[in-house]
Symmetry: C2
Subunit: 361 residues, 2 copies
């Protein structure tokens, strides 16, 4: 899951609360930058994806947004030069807690500075400079990526013309903070976490990561989808568990399978840092209120997409973001979709998402 | 938290999947049974409360439904003889996994038979017989207690005239099953659980119980309440946690305090059994569908109360229950309340709940 390209800075990278010496930012690109250098799109990801948003000649494996990005697709690589960065603090090529600190030659682990969404946004700037892109056509992000895209637009107003925010929010509210805080506690409570000092070549705090992933899935999907999909269907693949408190129902088996696939693919310390970065994010930090913070936004247009069944980034947060943007951005469109897959809909309900995003471009 | 009264059976008590030898059912009562013996109300509790629903001369400590039950209150102990039983399988006087098996002289622990909501309902019958009550005026329950009350009405149609179901459901759907399953996994993953063999006099799997309680609180309250109540307020009582991944926000401190109060008050194995009993419950088991299962219901009236912000037992499940009841019960009233405290509203939003329940009686 390493990205195809990466840029290692020669300077010290200033973070909001600390510095990193010569970090690496991994990224992938699709399509070609035109002569005017004005057809670039930048994608920031959610918490767990890599920069491999879609397949390419260099890496034909399926990407996490395969149906959205490519020739003739809504993010059309025949028209646009599309960049996706692996978030600073993540573990798919960009520098994060699982990376080696070049000063100490030890892995950062919990010595990594407190990570903020603003740092992740800033991490894309050297990549754009390196690629010779002064102004992006659009900065795009879903979930945590939407927070990052908003932060980018706020801090680098001259570097992007448009914003596309999907199932995201201008700040974290206590319900989502509580869920993420509990996920982090599950990981930290696992004795194998060992205060962040688990052997990096092994699976780390697998039990804590399993619980955290299951709670993630519960918060990413919706009760409505699961009632339709599983009802009270009994699990067959894990056997009868009359006394063992194992798996009775199909929904439990689904969670178990999802968690099993996640274990070992994502570094636990990186997860902790990225998760907390979402909690700490509040776009109103810049100016005391969203309106004040957005005052200097230089965007020409923005689209905010949300989903009725999303409980983690609920529709009223999309509306709040769209309303605050509308006060300063000439063209703002708020789209509310009726998908039943909750927060994850942008990854799976392509029939609803593709036409809306295609329309924006 | 032991109940004031208890009845120990002399016979073997048949359960749906097993038997218990001479179990005890703990209960409390308020008011007096009238000469006609037709003024009795029976309350089944949610997962964690004891039979101490309200204070009395014999136990002046505050009960879990203190504002609802007592002289002149909606459950009026001057008019009604009110009984509350501690659920079979619980740990406040009734026989459960933390009790001693009289046959082996060992604690049951995981040797306790699979517990079902039907068993809990049946556990009240000997108490009613003992008290000389043939027919209840009303069987009442909230949350798991509502499932138990419904099960009682289904299995013992001649023993109750009316049903009051609060924030409950006729079956568990996959979203709530997933949450409870994950809570059980948190407890079972705690090394101190030791496959159910933790020392009963100590606090048991405190770390797992802490996580489970926090997830419980997240599912019992609502995002709306917390946004109003906590917003993005920073915690002050747990100190700064820049690198330790501790507590940043007030909502995290709230969860921590709640969990701390819960640890050591509830037996972990009992929690596992009661939690799974809720997952297993499906009132349609009796007849293949709710309509068929309810065909022989002899109730004269029923009221179903639900709350708009309850995500664990959502309004559409209250409506489903009310609709199925309405097909066979002469007088059915469905009440939807606008409380913002989610599933827990019946314990805290007394201004909305009291008049509705007073009106029923």
């Amino acid at each position: 899951m390493r990205a195809l390209k990466s840029l290692t800075l020669t300077d010290v990278f200033p973070m909001r609360r600390g510095t990193l010496k010569a970090p690496t930012i991994a990224y992938e690109t699709w399509g070609r930058l035109n002569a005017n250098k004005d057809n670039a799109l930048l994608i920031f990801t959610g918490l767990s994806p890599s920069a491999h948003a879609a397949s390419s000649l260099d890496d034909p494996s399926t990407g996490w947004w395969e149906d959205m990005l490519g020739p003739g697709k809504p993010l059309d690589s025949e028209r646009y030069f599309i960049i996706c960065v692996n978030s600073l603090g993540s573990c798919f090529g960009s520098t994060g807690p699982a990376s080696v600190n070049p000063e100490t030659h030890q892995h950062y682990r919990l010595g990594f500075p407190v990570l903020t969404v603003e740092d992740i946004a800033n991490g894309a700037i050297p990549v754009l400079d390196h690629l010779g892109i002064e102004v992006l056509d659009t900065v795009i992000g879903a979930s945590m990526g939407g927070m990052t895209a908003l932060s980018f637009a706020l801090s680098h107003g001259t570097r992007c013309r448009r914003l596309l925010s999907i199932s995201s929010a201008s700040r974290s509210l206590p319900y989502s903070i509580a869920l993420r805080s509990l996920q982090r506690e599950m990981i930290r409570n696992d004795a194998d976490w060992d205060n962040g000092n688990y052997p990096l070549e092994e699976s780390g705090p697998a039990s804590g990561m399993r619980l955290a992933r299951k709670l993630g899935m519960i918060s990413y999907r919706s009760a409505e989808e699961w009632a339709d999909r599983f009802g009270r269907e009994r699990a067959t693949d894990f056997g009868e568990s009359d006394t063992a408190f194992g798996i009775d129902f199909e929904v439990e088996s689904y969670l178990e399978n999802h968690a099993n696939r996640f274990i070992g693919t994502f570094d636990a310390n990186c997860y902790l840092y990225l998760s907390r970065a979402m909690d700490l994010f509040d776009a109103a930090d810049h100016g005391g209120s969203l309106r004040n913070s957005f005052e200097d936004l230089a965007l020409e247009a923005a689209m905010v997409i949300g989903v009725r069944t999303d409980t983690l980034f609920p529709l009223h947060q999309q509306q709040e973001l769209a309303d605050a943007l509308a006060a300063v951005v000439p063209e703002v469109r708020m789209v509310s979709l009726d998908s039943i897959q909750g927060h994850d809909s942008f990854l799976v309900d392509m029939d609803r998402f593709r036409p809306v995003i295609a329309d924006f471009f």
